[in-house]
Amino acid sequence: MYPLLQKAPCENTFRAIANALLASKACDITGLVAIACAWHGCYAPKALVDLFRGEQQKNVDFAFLQALKTTRVDPQQGVMLIYNIVCQYIIHIQKCIGAHLPASLTIDRAIGLFHVHNHKDECFFRYAPTFIPGSGIVAGEILESLWSSLNSISPTVRTATLPHRVEMLDDHATDSNRKKMLGMATTLCAKYREALELSTQLGKHYTELTATFGQQAVEKWEDEVSAAESLRLADVKVMDMYATQASASAAASAAGPAAASASSLVQSAVEEWIDFAIIFEQMQ
């Protein structure tokens, strides 16, 4: 059924949603959902939940609520959720768990860079973390690498008793967090050096682009970008301004520069993506 729907998958079917109602006769638990920190890759305590009938919204709801609670998110600070199908998940979140959420908490949302390309084109501009202020440079796919190490042990507990299974998974997830904690200083130092270098490179790139297109144009785009960013939480459609305007005049005065101004942002995402793909490949 996928080839038929591939054109606009956001309108309808993802595996996560299509499987939502599939119950299995042989299995009493069909999988897991976890919540982890997008930056450091640590599992959030109490948020590694079992799935009983595919990936239903309520399972993720519970995991998200637990993660908010156990990691002590301050409502003033806000929170961002990166999830493969966030464009559909977020629609009902207030109806489903609004009563459990702190009233003043703003939930920003994004889709990981691997998955966002499987959505409609608009989703890229609306939900790619690349375009979201305050998200840093983050791929939002850290759980894929956590899963790859968990997958090497999870088959061994398929036929264990339920408590034993949970204890094993708990153990390995906790161990993963502990290893992360021990290595964090080294990792952050290396990341900081990388960030400085990247920042210099991008700064140079930006200056060159500014010189090419002129200060005035750049200021105009910056105004457009900040206007869109200030409105995006209320109406995510404003982010569509990043898309190239195909219907613009033949002079392409709108389309060309708009694409170029985005390229400095996109480049960092692509680099991030390649880095991640390399790490991922090494781990396999």
Partner: protein
């Protein structure tokens, strides 16, 4: 509020379908040693939430099954 964009907690959620579990006989007789003290939630709390949860399936605008 001033520090809002300096640091914001970013969570990633994802499903894993490899970590399934085959139904066992007498699986209710085993003892939970640290139920809800680690990464997995307390079983009773979780079950209770699921039962009370408002079901809202994310459905698209295209009718299913497709009319052709």
């Amino acid at each position: 509020m001033a520090f809002r964009f300096v640091f914001k907690c970013i969570f990633v959620a994802d499903g894993n379908f490899k970590a399934d579990h085959v139904r066992q006989k007498n699986s209710n007789t085993d003892v939970w040693l640290w139920d809800g003290a680690g990464m997995a939630p307390n079983q009773a709390e979780y079950k209770q939430f699921l039962q009370a949860a408002i079901e809202r399936l994310t459905v698209g605008t295209i009718p299913w099954p497709l009319p052709f």
